[in-house]
């Protein structure tokens, strides 16, 4: 497989289709916002969205009607409060009903790791006595250790149709470097049938120490160079998390009308991520 270098628009249009299971991963750091907003522009529908922390990007995608289902483990605005659009979808089915497949962080990590390992399920100690085990019987089972008899929890693997990551660098061959907090990004990448990566920059040679987190080119279906592509989350070494924006989002997303107006103006009303960044005053 040869990695294709595409525009963000083409990368999303080529690889993400209505009805797919899609994971835009990145734990707080390197969240692929530009890719998610491009999916909103392309009006994708009926997606099963997978992320440990839906964060603002899935709040936007859910609020704009891209998702029919959500697989997640913590759905808040970190350090701020609720994700109002996610709440509205679950509490009032607006703009549409949303099925949820809910886990703990440890559970999501196990599910991604199982998918990345080519196993149908993974195991952990946990879930005993939790409401999750009661409410999510389709995705939580008990399994006994064949050696000790101890009961453990089994969870089914996640294997997204497409995983989208944002990373600091790619080289011309398509090798990708992630640096800093990686969350479960590597597992989400290896679990996926198709991997698309947006990067801050394409360089001659990766600035990668020997044991760095490098995804080899032959695992990467497409790369799009999108500077600022993780904003308002961050890309270590490039820009910081816009914590002020995360705080401001609470007001923006609180009402349906304010949310729609903001999305119209800054996402649907811009042609690409550079215009988006200028439009929200995040570019200089």
């Amino acid at each position: 497989m040869t990695t294709e270098f595409l525009s963000l628009r083409d990368a999303m249009a080529t690889h993400v289709r209505d009805g797919m299971t899609v994971a835009l991963e990145g734990f707080t750091h390197l969240i692929p916002f530009a890719a998610g907003q491009e999916l909103i522009r392309q009006q994708r529908r009926d997606l099963t969205l997978v992320r440990m922390t839906p964060d603002l990007i899935y709040d936007q995608m859910v609020g704009m009607g891209c998702a029919k289902s959500l697989v997640f483990s913590w759905g808040g605005n970190p350090g701020v409060g609720s994700l109002h659009r996610l709440r509205d979808a679950i509490e009032h089915q607006w703009p549409n009903a949303l099925t949820i497949d809910e886990h703990s962080h440890a559970g999501m990590a196990v599910r991604y790791s199982a998918g990345a390992s080519g196993l149908p399920f993974g195991i952990l100690k946990g879930y005993t006595g939790t409401g999750l085990a009661v409410e999510n019987r389709a995705h939580v089972a008990t399994i006994a250790c064949p050696f000790t008899g101890e009961n453990l929890t089994a969870l089914p693997a996640i294997t997204p149709d497409v995983t989208v990551l944002h990373a600091q660098q790619a080289d011309g061959a398509g090798n990708v470097l992630l640096r800093g907090i990686v969350g479960a990004s590597r597992e989400a990448a290896m679990a996926a049938r198709c991997l698309v990566v947006t990067v801050e920059e394409v360089v001659e040679e990766l600035d990668a120490p020997m044991n760095a987190f490098v995804i080899p080119a032959w695992q990467v279906h497409a790369i799009a160079e999108v500077p600022g592509g993780a904003y308002p989350s961050y890309a270590l070494g490039f820009y910081s998390r816009d914590n002020a924006f995360y705080q401001a989002w609470d007001e923006i997303a609180r009402s349906r009308s304010d949310f729609l107006a903001w999305m119209e103006r800054h996402v649907l009303g811009t042609v690409d991520h550079t215009e988006f960044l200028c439009s929200v005053g995040a570019a200089e």
Partner: protein, 249 residues
């Protein structure tokens, strides 16, 4: 009587920080737990090891992170590892001394709800959900809970049990609860300086039992207050600044 020179939130943070012994390995949630852990690290427990679930081991932030994975945590950490290893090799393997949790509801045994108010399928309020809490409670050697007290959130019956927990202490904005050794029910063991036990009982949704020898928690020292307020001020400043990205084209 003059108003105390500190807020209940500050007292709660200070009381929580004091319970952290130097050198302990702490699994830190965002918000008040993070403030308490870093206050402890900046006062009596310089060798406290902070693990954030994002994958930062031994973080020493100078400002409090807004999210669990701010760059500040990565830049000051001893190492930054994949999140799955945090949950398997550190937490589940039993390498964490203290887990630090909050929640939207708590019951008299310390079980926690951070998932929904109302029925799960049709919630009146959808809360963020579990995050790392269930496994932190299951695997840390000791669990501390910090929660502001109110009869609405300290409940007879949880709407949903996100996290079965048996905390060694519950620190509220009024005092400290500890489990009865026999029944494991959380009982009021100490009140903050200036708080009447009747106020604590009134702000608890279950019939609160009170320890025979009710202690009083000393007010924040000048040092504790100054360090906490400096930390909070630095944090506010850091998070107020908008980010500007220099685009290459």
């Amino acid at each position: 009587m003059t108003a105390p020179a500190w807020t209940p939130d500050e007292m709660m943070t200070v009381a929580a920080a004091r319970r952290l012994r130097d050198g302990a390995v702490c699994f830190v949630g965002i918000g008040l737990p993070s403030a308490a852990c870093n206050l402890a690290r900046m006062t009596h427990a310089p060798e406290l090891v902070l693990i954030y679930e994002s994958g930062t081991v031994g973080a020493r932030p100078t400002v409090l992170p807004l999210s669990i994975g701010d760059g500040e945590l990565a830049e000051t950490a001893r190492s930054v590892i994949p999140l799955p290893e945090i949950f398997t090799q550190y937490l589940q393997r039993g390498r964490v001394d203290i887990g630090f949790l909050g929640a939207a509801q708590i019951d008299r045994f310390g079980n926690l709800n951070s998932t929904v108010i109302g029925p799960y399928a049709q919630p009146t309020v959808r809360l963020p959900g579990a995050g790392g809490a269930p496994e932190i409670a299951a695997h840390a050697r000791e669990v501390l809970v910090v929660m502001k007290q109110s009869a609405r959130t300290f409940v007879e019956q949880l709407d949903f049990c996100t996290t079965p927990a048996r905390p060694s202490a519950l620190i509220t904005d009024l005092g400290v609860f500890e489990p009865d050794p026999a029944t494991r029910e959380l009982c009021l063991s100490a009140v903050f300086d200036g708080v009447a036990k009747e106020d604590v009982v009134a702000a608890c949704g279950w019939p609160l039992r009170i320890a025979d020898r009710l202690g009083t928690i000393a007010p924040p020292t000048a040092d504790e207050l100054e360090i906490l307020r400096d930390l909070q001020a630095r944090t506010r400043d850091a998070h107020a600044a908008r980010v500007r990205i220099r685009l290459p084209f």
